[in-house]
């Protein structure tokens, strides 16, 4: 039954993708691309908060590092796969450094230092004009894949979709692997995890690094269909969007993140013109879920276990 459902699900997604590719308007394709990027970015936060239980408020920074690094590599005419790798790795290295800091602190101190890192990176994006273009923004050249330049959202969609599915699959594998269980053991109790032979420090470092890698890769995906990036869109609001996705989806649930990314990716785009409503809705949702359904909307639908 479960297998049948999975096959049907994959078939539905493929059919949806084909229909989308053939008939949807440019804006809808753009929106779907953006949702997929939001999904991968949220998966990144899921790995660090949901799996290992460490708090991070620096995801817009990792995302931004991924975008700029990939865009710079693309500008230098590197092939896309390499450019994406550069974006992911640059973010992962920063994630490793933050992870090293995180070994020394927890809870509130960790939240604050990652927040500080995010704000500092935004300042770097805004002021390192030689590299990022500063307040003028950065014009991203078209991505080249196997010598073929991707010129539109529609052309980028298959690439973005394949990458998103790959990263989702990787996250699922991680969730169900022994490594994922070790991460969750650290989340529940570091002492108990250490007692059964889990290397707590290594797990925490790995969680931050992988999380940043995913965020950086999301940035790389963004460069395939977007032509411009400005530091303003890499601020705290992006972090709050992703945090909302993970919290509302249900901390620790991969499919919850998928659902959350769809709902909030759409909401974010719909409310873009009405920042006041957007902020009020996000604020009310964050407070409401913490009050009434701290385990997320899907846990609430399934009924409390």
């Amino acid at each position: 039954m479960k297998r049948l459902l999975a096959v049907l699900g994959v078939a539905a997604v493929v059919a949806g993708a084909v229909v989308l590719e053939a008939s949807a308007t440019g804006y809808i394709v753009y929106l779907v691309n953006l949702l997929l990027v939001t999904l991968v970015l949220s998966l990144g936060l899921h790995v660090v908060i949901g799996e290992s239980g460490q708090f991070s408020l620096a995801h817009s920074a990792f995302y931004g590092i991924g975008i700029y690094a990939t865009a710079i590599a693309t500008t230098a005419h590197w092939p896309f796969i390499l450019a994406l790798g550069v974006g992911g790795l640059a973010a992962a290295v920063c994630g490793l450094v933050i992870g090293l800091l995180a070994l020394r602190m927890r809870d509130i101190y960790l939240a604050l230092s990652t927040f500080a890192f995010g704000e500092a990176m935004q300042w770097v994006f805004l002021n390192w004009e030689a590299v990022t273009g500063g307040p003028n923004g950065y014009n991203i050249p078209p991505t080249k894949l196997f010598g073929f330049a991707i010129m539109s959202d529609r052309e980028a969609f298959p690439l973005v979709a394949v990458l998103a599915v790959l990263f989702l699959a990787a996250t699922l594998v991680l969730h169900h692997s022994g490594f994922g269980r070790a991460l969750r053991a650290v989340r529940e109790s570091e002492i108990a995890a250490a007692a059964v032979g889990v290397n707590v420090k290594l797990m925490k470092l790995a969680a931050f690094t992988l999380s940043a890698l995913l965020a950086g890769a999301a940035g790389g995906m963004f460069t395939t269909f977007s032509t411009f990036i400005h530091p303003d869109s890499l601020g705290f609001s992006t972090t709050v969007l992703v945090l909302t996705v993970v919290v509302v989806g249900g901390i620790g649930s991969v499919w919850g993140v998928v659902g959350g990314a769809v709902v909030f990716g759409l909401l974010n785009e719909l409310l873009r013109q009405l920042p006041s409503y957007q902020e009020m809705i996000y604020g009310a949702i964050l407070m409401g879920f913490m009050m009434f359904a701290p385990r997320g909307m899907f846990a609430a639908l399934r009924g409390a276990r």
Binding site: L101, I108, L112, A120, L243, S276, E279, Y282, L286
Partner: protein, 300 residues
């Protein structure tokens, strides 16, 4: 750089740093008392302060309320609002699951909600300037020059802090707050009502934020993003150790002075990044802050 200029810059930097540091110290105090007694790192601190500024602006400019009525009214409303938030939202979040991360997310929710409200009210669209009651003019101390407003800000902050420490040391309410901050269980056992004390602490914290807002609003333009000041207060609280009240005050002055010296000696663009560098440095070198005491190991 000339030695004379350096000396002038140092004097001006310290003087201006003491003034802005006093406001950061106030906000840091508000953050620290809340953290000690309710375990909540209030990420909405800056937005409470922002909303208080707009509330005062609204009362004075739209309702044309006299200043002497608007000031206490603002403080009272913000006190009440903070207490209600603690009672309605945070108490519930803490009871569902006592994880500090959930509490942080709830305060992030409040911060977004407040920003949205101010934008929605239509006042947040353009920067506004707050009417000042203090006459223009400046005083020269040594080689540093401070405006009358600066002096008023500094003195009032010191008075508020002194009142606050007096309350904490000598009044029954203040001592109950301290008891809750030290050991919640023991405090409850000797008959202190946790619900009431935690609400009172939030009310206090709201009141301090409102006072800080009223003090500095005339110096700045009101914008929805002005809550950023709270990151400086957080930096101050971290430098001081996050659980220490005197630490918060000292941290506030350190951050204020560091910021002004960086502005004078490096560049005004580097001011923004100073608190983050300070936070990172302190957390790396001394994760418990200057007054935070030794690392407590939690045993199973």
């Amino acid at each position: 750089m000339d030695l004379e200029v350096v000396w002038l810059f140092v004097q001006q930097g310290v003087a201006s740093g003491l003034v802005s540091g006093a406001v950061y110290a106030l906000l840091a105090l508000a953050i620290v008392i809340v953290y000690r007694t309710t375990d909540v790192a209030n990420f909405a601190q800056g937005e409470i302060y922002m909303a208080a500024s707009y509330l005062a602006f609204f009362l004075i400019v739209v309702f044309a309320a006299p200043i002497l009525l608007a000031i206490p009214l603002t403080i009272l409303i913000v006190c009440g609002g903070a207490a209600v938030f603690q009672r309605l939202v945070l108490a519930r979040v803490a009871s569902v699951r006592g994880v500090s991360v959930n509490l942080v997310i709830a305060t992030l929710g409040l911060s977004y909600f407040l920003k949205g409200m101010v934008r929605f009210s239509g006042f947040g669209d353009a920067p506004r300037s707050f009417p000042s009651v203090v006459p223009d003019g400046a005083l020269t101390i040594g080689d540093a020059s401070l405006s009358y407003l600066d002096i008023v800000i500094f003195v009032t902050s010191l008075v508020v802090m002194a009142l606050f420490f007096w309350m904490f040391t000598f009044t029954k309410t203040g001592r109950a707050m301290r008891a809750v901050g030290m050991n919640r269980r023991a405090a409850a056992l000797v008959g202190i009502s946790l619900t009431r004390v935690q609400m009172q602490v939030w009310a206090c914290s709201g009141g301090i934020s409102a006072i800080a807002a009223l003090l500095i609003a005339p110096k700045l333009l009101l914008t929805v993003e002005m809550g950023h000041v709270a990151t400086l207060a957080f930096a101050a609280a971290i430098v001081g150790g996050f659980t220490s009240l005197p630490g918060a005050v000292v941290g506030g002055f350190i951050i204020g002075i560091a910021e002004n010296l960086v502005g004078l000696f490096v560049s005004s663009r580097a001011i923004v990044v100073t608190p983050f560098v300070v936070i990172m440095l302190v957390l790396i070198l001394k994760p418990q802050g200057l007054f935070g005491g030794a690392v407590r190991v939690r045993k199973v």
